[in-house]
Amino acid sequence: MITWKRIKLENFTFPKIYDYKKEFIRLDGEVPVGLRLDKIYDTIDRTKINWLNSNEIYGLGKEFLSFVNEFYNSGISLYLNSNIKLNNPIVVEFNMDKENPTVIDKNIIIAEPNSEATILFHYCTDEEVEAFHNGFTEIHAKENSSLTIIKIQRMNDLSQNFDTNIAYVKGEGKVNWITVELGSQISGSNYTTFLDEVASESKLSSIYLGDGNRKMDLSYSMIHKGPRSISNIESRGALMDNSRKVFRGNLDFRRGSRLAKGSEEEYVLLLDPSVKSDSIPALLCEEDDVQGEHAASAGQINESQLFYLMSRGLREREAKKLIIEGAFRPVIDRIPIKELKEIIDLEVERRLINE
C-alpha cells in the first residue's frame, strides 16, 4: 500500500490490469529508413539497463516502477540509427475505453549519435470510464542527438495517472520535454534527466491545470554530472476549485559538473480560495563552479490586466481564461500537430469555463 502525504493519496493499491488491445502507434505511410519502431513485447532485444538495481532513487518510486516492469501491457521500443533525422513526429496514442481501461506502458527510446526525432505520447479517455495509467519511459540520447518528447495527459476526472520518465543524455545530446497535464483525478508524474556527459542539455516545459478535485504531484529533476551541462525547467499552472498540487523541482549539481548551468522557474495562478498549492524547489550542489537558480511565484491574476480586459467588454471569466491561455500559449504552440493543439485549446477552455 502506498501513501503520498502531500496530495493525500492514502493506502493506494493497484487495480486489476486488463490487456490493451487497441493499436497505439500512429504512423502515416512507410517507416522511415534507419528507424526501428516496435511494440515493446515484440522486442526480443530487451535493454540491458538494470535500472531497478540502481541506488539512485528516482521516478515515482520502486512500487510504481516494479509494477510497470512486471505487468506492462503496451509501450514502444524505438531505435534511431546514427545520423537519422525524422521530420515528422512519431505519435503514440492511448485512448482508454471500457474494453481497454488500463494502460501500463513501458517505452524505451534510444537515439544514436547525431539523430533527431520528436515523439509524442497522448493519454486520453474519450469514454466515461475509470481508467488507469502507470507508465515508464526510458530515454537514451547519445552524443549530439536531439530528442523532443511530448507528453499530453487528458484523461477524465474518474481516472488515475502515474507516469515516470527518465532520460540519460550523453555528450552534447539534447532532450526537450514538453508536458501538458489537463486531466485525471489523481496524477503523479516524474521527469528525471541525467545530464551524464559534457555539454549535455535538457529543457523541460510544463503546463498544468487543476480543476474540480484534482490532485497532482509533479516532480522534475535535472541531475548534472557532465561539465558544462545545461538545464532549464519552466512550469506554469493554474489551480481552481478544490484542486491540490505539489510541485517538486530539483536541480542537482553533482561533483564534476564544472561550469554547468541550471535554472528553474515556477509560476502558479491561484483562482479560488479553496485550492492548495505546495512548492518544493530544491537546489543541491557539490560543485562550486556552477550556476544554479530557481524562482517560484504564486498569486492571483494581475488585477490591472484583468481590469483592462474587462474594460474592453469581456466578462471576468472570459478575461481570466484569456490570461491563462496566454500563459499556456508558448508551450501549446510547440506541439507539432495542429489537430492536437486544437483539442488542447478546447479542453483548456472547457475546464476554465465549465460552470
Partner: protein, 468 residues
C-alpha cells in the same frame, strides 16, 4: 587550466578555545534516568509542578524517535552526556563577586566591557547555571524584568507557569522533550506595556565542561506596544568528546510590539547544536530574527515565526558559514495564520573545506490567511568543490489571495563582476574581496558590531586567485 582559488582560513577561534579547569559544585551522573531528573529538580528547589513537568517530558523523550531526516545524529550518545553541572559559584550581580577564572573567560569574550558600553543588561551562563545577571536601574524602574530562569520560576511563578513550554511543547520533537526534562539556566525577560527598551539586553551562554549538555531556556514576553532587542551569544572550547546544546527559546510578541532577536552562535566543532526557537506574534506585532551560525559540528536550527494576529510581520536574516567537518542544517519556518501578515526571509550561506551548508525552510499560509505577502530569498556561495550546499525551501499555500515570491541562487563569483570592477581600476584581489563582502553585507550590517568586524576580517584573509 586550473583556475586559482582563494583559501579562506577558519574563523580564528582564539579566545573561544580557552578552556578552564573543570570544577563544579554539583554534577549529575551521565545519561538520563528519572532519578537524575529528580536530583536536578531537587538541587534547584523547584515547585512540584515543574518536577512533574520534567518527568513527563522524560517519558515523551523516551517514546520519541530520533529524526530520520537532516544530519546524521548517530554519533551522539545521550548516555555519555552529562545533563547538569552546577558551577562552583552562586549567581552574582556584580562582576567583582564572580570567581576569578570564570570572570576572566567572560572578560576575554568582551562581555563586561560590552555591558559598560552598549548593553542595558547582561546575563552570563557558565555550564548549567547563570553566574551573573544584571540590568540597568532605569529599566527596573520601568518594570522591565530581566533575570535568570531559576529566579523567575520563584519570583514570577504564575507568568512562567502560564507560558513555559507552551509554544515549544515537549511533544514538538525528541530534543524539545529532552529540553523539557533537563532544562537549566537561561533568561527570562518581561517588558511591560508601552516600554521602549532602546539599548539591547544580552545573554551569553558558555559551556566549559567536556562531554556535557547545555539546555538553557529563554522566555521573552514583550507586552503591547513595547520594543526590545535581545542578543544571544554562545561559545565553548573544543574537546574531543561530543557536547550537546539543546536550548529552547520562546518569544511572545503582543499587539504592536517589536522584538529583535539576534543570535551569534560560535560553538566549537565538537558540539551538536539542536536548538528550538519559536515566536508567536499578535496583531501588528513584529519579530525580527538575526541569526549567524558559524560554529558547531552539527546544527539543526530553524527559528519559527507564527503570525497569528492580523498584520503581524516577521523578518528573518540569516548567515551560515560551514567549514571543515561541519554540517549546518539551518533555515526558518514561517506560518501565516492570520490575514494581511507579511514575512521576509533573507538567507545566505557559504561553504568551504568540505563543509556542508543546508538551507531548509518552510513557508506555510493557512486557509484563512488572505492578503498575505511573503518573499523568500536564499543565496549560497561555494568556495571550493569539496564542500556541499543545498537549498530546500518548502512552500505550502492554502488559499488564493496571496502574493508569494521565492528566489534562490547558487554559484561562484561571476567573472563579469570582477572584470567590471577591474575596468574601474580596482585590483583583482580587492575586487573579489569587495564582492564577497557585498555578498554578506546585508547580514553583517544587522550584526552587533564586534561580530560584523570578525566576519569581515575572516573574508579579508588571503584573497588570492579566484574565489570559488
Amino acid at each position: 587550466m586550473g583556475r586559482k582559488k582563494t583559501y579562506i582560513e577558519d574563523i580564528d577561534r582564539g579566545i573561544y578555545d580557552i578552556r578552564n579547569e573543570f570544577t563544579y559544585k554539583y554534577k549529575a551522573d551521565k545519561g538520563l534516568t528519572p532519578e537524575i531528573i529528580k536530583d536536578i529538580s531537587r538541587e534547584k528547589n523547584e515547585p512540584k509542578w515543574m518536577t512533574d513537568f520534567r518527568l513527563k517530558s522524560l517519558e515523551i523523550y523516551n517514546s520519541m524517535p530520533i529524526p530520520t531526516w537532516g544530519p546524521d545524529l548517530s554519533d551522539l550518545n545521550m548516555d555519555e552526556i552529562v545533563t547538569y553541572i552546577r558551577p562552583d559559584t552562586e549567581m552574582k550581580h556584580s562582576w567583582d563577586d564572580v570567581p576569578e577564572e570564570i570572570k576572566k573567560t567572560f572578560q576575554l569574550l568582551g562581555l563586561p566591557q560590552a555591558e559598560r558600553e552598549s548593553l542595558a543588561g547582561v546575563g552570563a551562563q557558565y555550564d548549567s547555571e547563570v553566574v551573573y545577571h544584571n540590568i540597568r536601574k532605569e529599566l527596573v524602574d520601568q518594570g522591565v524584568v530581566y533575570m535568570d530562569m531559576e529566579t523567575a520560576l520563584i519570583e514570577y511563578e504564575d507568568i512562567v507557569r502560564e507560558y513555559f513550554m507552551t509554544l515549544v511543547p515537549p511533544t514538538a520533537h525528541k530534543f524539545a522533550a529532552l529540553h523539557g526534562a533537563v532544562w537549566s539556566g537561561g533568561s527570562f525577560v518581561y517588558v511591560p506595556e508601552g516600554v521602549d527598551v532602546d539599548i539591547p539586553l544580552q545573554s551569553y551562554f558558555r559551556l566549559n565542561a567536556p562531554g556535557a549538555g547545555q539546555f538553557e531556556h529563554t522566555l521573552i514576553i514583550v507586552e503591547k506596544g513595547s520594543r526590545l532587542h535581545f542578543i544571544e551569544g554562545c561559545s565553548a572550547p573544543k574537546y574531543k568528546v561530543n557536547n550537546l546544546h539543546a536550548g529552547c527559546v520562546e518569544l511572545f510578541v503582543k499587539e504592536n510590539a517589536t522584538l529583535r532577536y539576534s543570535t551569534i552562535e560560535n560553538w566549537s566543532k565538537n558540539m551538536y547544536n539542536l536548538n528550538t526557537k519559536r515566536a508567536v506574534v499578535d496583531k501588528n506585532g513584529t519579530i525580527e530574527w538575526i541569526s549567524g551560525s558559524f560554529g558547531s559540528k552539527v546544527s539543526m536550527l530553524y527559528p519559527m515565526s507564527i503570525l497569528r494576529g492580523e498584520g503581524a510581520r516577521s523578518e528573518f536574516t540569516g548567515i551560515t558559514f560551514a567549514s571543515k567537518g561541519q554540517h549546518l542544517d539551518t533555515g526558518t519556518k514561517v506560518v501565516h495564520a492570520a490575514p494581511y501578515t507579511t514575512s521576509t526571509v533573507n538567507s545566505k550561506s557559504i561553504s568551504k573545506d568540505g563543509g556542508y551548508a543546508f538551507y531548509r525552510g518552510l513557508l506555510k499560509v493557512a486557509p484563512n490567511a488572505y492578503g498575505c505577502k511573503s518573499t523568500v530569498s536564499c543565496e549560497s556561495l561555494m568556495l571550493d568543490n569539496e564542500s556541499k550546499s543545498d537549498t530546500l525551501p518548502i512552500i505550502e499555500l492554502n488559499n488564493d489571495d496571496i502574493d508569494i515570491g521565492h528566489e534562490a541562487k547558487i554559484g561562484r563569483i561571476s567573472d563579469e563582476a570582477i572584470f567590471y570592477l577591474m575596468s574601474r581600476g580596482i585590483s583583482e584581489e580587492e575586487a573579489k574581496a569587495m564582492i564577497v563582502r557585498g555578498f554578506v553585507e546585508p547580514i553583517t550590517k544587522e550584526l552587533p558590531l564586534e561580530y560584523a568586524v570578525e566576519l569581515n576580517n575572516l573574508i579579508n584573509i588571503e584573497l588570492e586567485g579566484t574565489i570559488g
